[in-house]
Amino acid sequence: MKERLVLIGNGMAGVRALEELLKLEPDMYDITVFGEEPHPNYNRILLSPVLAGEKTIDDIILNSREWYEEHGITLHTGDPVVAIDRAKRRVRTDSGVEAPYDRLLIATGSRPFIIPVPGADLDGVIGFRDIHDVDVMLEAAKHYKRAVVIGGGLLGLEAANGLMKQGMDVTVVHLLDTLMEKQLDKPAADLLKRSLEARGMKFLMQAQTKAILGDKRVESIRFEDGMELQTDLVVMAVGIRPNVELAQQAGIHCERGIVVNDTMQTYDPRIYAVGECVQHRGVTYGLVAPLFEQAKVCANHLANLGYGLYQGSVTSTKLKVTGIDLFSAGEFHGGEGTEEIVFQDPAGGVYKKIVLKDDRIHGAVLYGDTIDGAWYFQLMREGTDVSDIRPHLLFGQSHLGDSGHGGVNQAAAMSDDAQVCDCNGVCKGDIVKAISEKGLFTVDDVKLHTKAGASCGSCVGLVEQILADTLGGDYSAPEAKPLCTCTDFTHDQVRAAIREEHLTSLRQVFDKLDWRTQDGCHVCRPALNYYLIAAWPEEAGDDPQSRFINERAHGNIQKDGTYSVVPRMFGGVCTPADLRAIAEVAEKYEVPEMKVTGGQRIDLFGIPKEQLPAVWKDLSDAGFVSGHAYGKAMRTVKTCVGSTWCRFGTQDSTGMGIELEKLTWGSWMPHKFKLAVSGCPRNCAEATIKDFGVVGIDSGWELHIGGNGGVKVRATDMLCRVETEAEVMEYCAAFIQLYREEARYLERTAPWVERVGLTYIKQHVVEDEVNRKALAERFRRSQEIAQVDPWKQIAEGTERLGFMPLKVVGSN
């Protein structure tokens, strides 16, 4: 018999845990769900827009009753559980239904705190928590005029805004002199207050409620100072209390919330808890992003996988009042050891404050211009050292070199027909529609359903912004993105495991890290294969089946299934004999087209797979090796003529280019890697848009890193100046090795340099000589293994047979 899982609380966290569980183990449990509310699971967050008349209840249902049926889940709604019998492992509901469990999940959320003043039980006094509350408010708005909202926090203001939109005359009563004091500092709160007042909202600050007066229904409200205010409706939004009574009665250890460990288990190991009812490491949460993380970890354990750990969350907030932009995250009040950077334009209605501690973002408050909120939040969560970008920080991401993060600032302003993904022709409207209609929450979901961002990926930043915009406060970028859907581990975690656990094959990675799929997928396999050979060049064998076809066939696949062949020409230098040999190959195999490439090499196009080994053989006999124009690998060294001929040349750039290419060819990289050498600062070889660029100067060489000439142009950062050729070689090898060891797969040097910071790279490659030499030495060692020409190897070995058809058969 299947194990029985019972869920108490049919809300956002509990049902999310079930969804995560079904993804992992669709058939492991017989599942029964009990919900106190009469509805299937809905998006509680969007109650605010429902109240404001911007959405309907139907819009916000997350899981319809059919969903429960499809997954064989028994659902009881409108029937709260009133007792848990831990000895008999059974729960009982108000109406007397009983259900036995093997494992129990408590996700009872929280209840609005109702201030215990006389009159709190009158008609027309409510909290703001569920559909019922919204119905009561909407009904009141139809018949009455005046409303008071007690509590000037996030929820209170959203309630007040909604009631105002429904035509009521609304006064917000707040105990302190700062609105949203948990999220805002005084200047930002004042701006907010002013702009809400301009919309007609009234405020009564520093007022303490003493009693609510009325006969049957509320008629007025009295404050400590004796003042009275007439009203027909009182909404209490002064905070929430984790809903723990049921757990407490069952003898489960509770403090403020139900106490759980890092695997979301309560003191009774058969009983799990997630959501707002939970207290983890002393903290309770009231936003969905952390609850969804808890749900994921919980599901992982329910599925008996046992490697997910919840370690707490950093959260950020936005206010969902249309037309008001507000963002807040982290510890924004400053304090000891912190510094503040502030931008203030009260007339323009813009305020930004960033709190720094040890060169890292500690907290942020943005008002009026929140475009960079997601970016600050990311820097904060990842603990990025921001000292390099500090002068530009407040001006936002668009003021930095913008490689790879495509258009973080544009999403909100874009029209629906503006194209977001140029690869797949997907417009903003398509994405917004998919997000709202299909209920998407993550970039991966959007990729899957719309293909936006699924190809070159340069628009992923924009897609993330659109997600954030569309979902409002509902969205928070996932804490750390898993490598792919086969695992919950991130690139960095997988890499660390490969190094620390000494894993040398894909199988070992899959086993050790509990991969969800037997063979991985087309996303993780190439990444893992690279991480393995980069970490253990001497031990890990290359797995051709885990490489993208271009790297398996050592040529670029074309749209008709043929391949291109680019022989390496070191430094772009060639002899008449070289050219003749290439020309002969082209004629002999009737190559449809030849072209000089942007990387100063010669490309032969349209060669069928079975012909590749023969073409390679001829090229290899003429002295050529593979140009790797197809790989996540060292590509080309582009050079200018340099001092040998050029009247301005200060250094022999072609000679240097040849040496660099000899040093680096054949190396596998996280992404493609290009070099260039110019003979003087006129820079004819465009060295300042290359991954590693070298520019000759009178006194030696200038070394540049992190340039990119592709989708988003980024000019290099200057690493340092050196004098000798030997130094150029050493710095180049060290930089490459650092990139090979630390960048994530498919992360080019430009975004990598921006992520880790130039300072970090200088520390490792320039300032620390011992480290530089060690890096360079590791690179040389790995090159001893990598520098075999794959073309020659295949053309001469048995592997070439794999390029031929297995059999040619007639059909009649």
């Binding site: 089946q545 885990s546 058809p805 297995l806 059999k807 040619v808 059909s811 009649n812």
Partner: protein, 109 residues
Amino acid sequence: MSEEWIEVGRLDDIPRLGSRVVKSAEGEIALFRNSNDEVFALRNRCPHKGGPLSEGIVAGKRVTCPLHNWIIELENGVAAPPDEGCTPAYPVKVERDSIFLMLSPASAC
């Protein structure tokens, strides 16, 4: 079209999680071998834009097309949602390490 089994090669001719192509008068048929040594045969044309499926990455019972990453089920040639389409699958069997193929599709598309 013939309904007989044709011997096309040995199991070891196809690498695990790899593929080889059989050329026939109707076009190419891609044979795939997965990590459990099961063999599947599909017409070597992706339902999207005709990409050569034989060059894709094989995982489980699926192959990812090398051109634009559609994912195709090896057993029946159907594209995994949200993409829609399919490519014919052919009957194939392995006996004493020899691979036998039938040239009339098992599933039409």
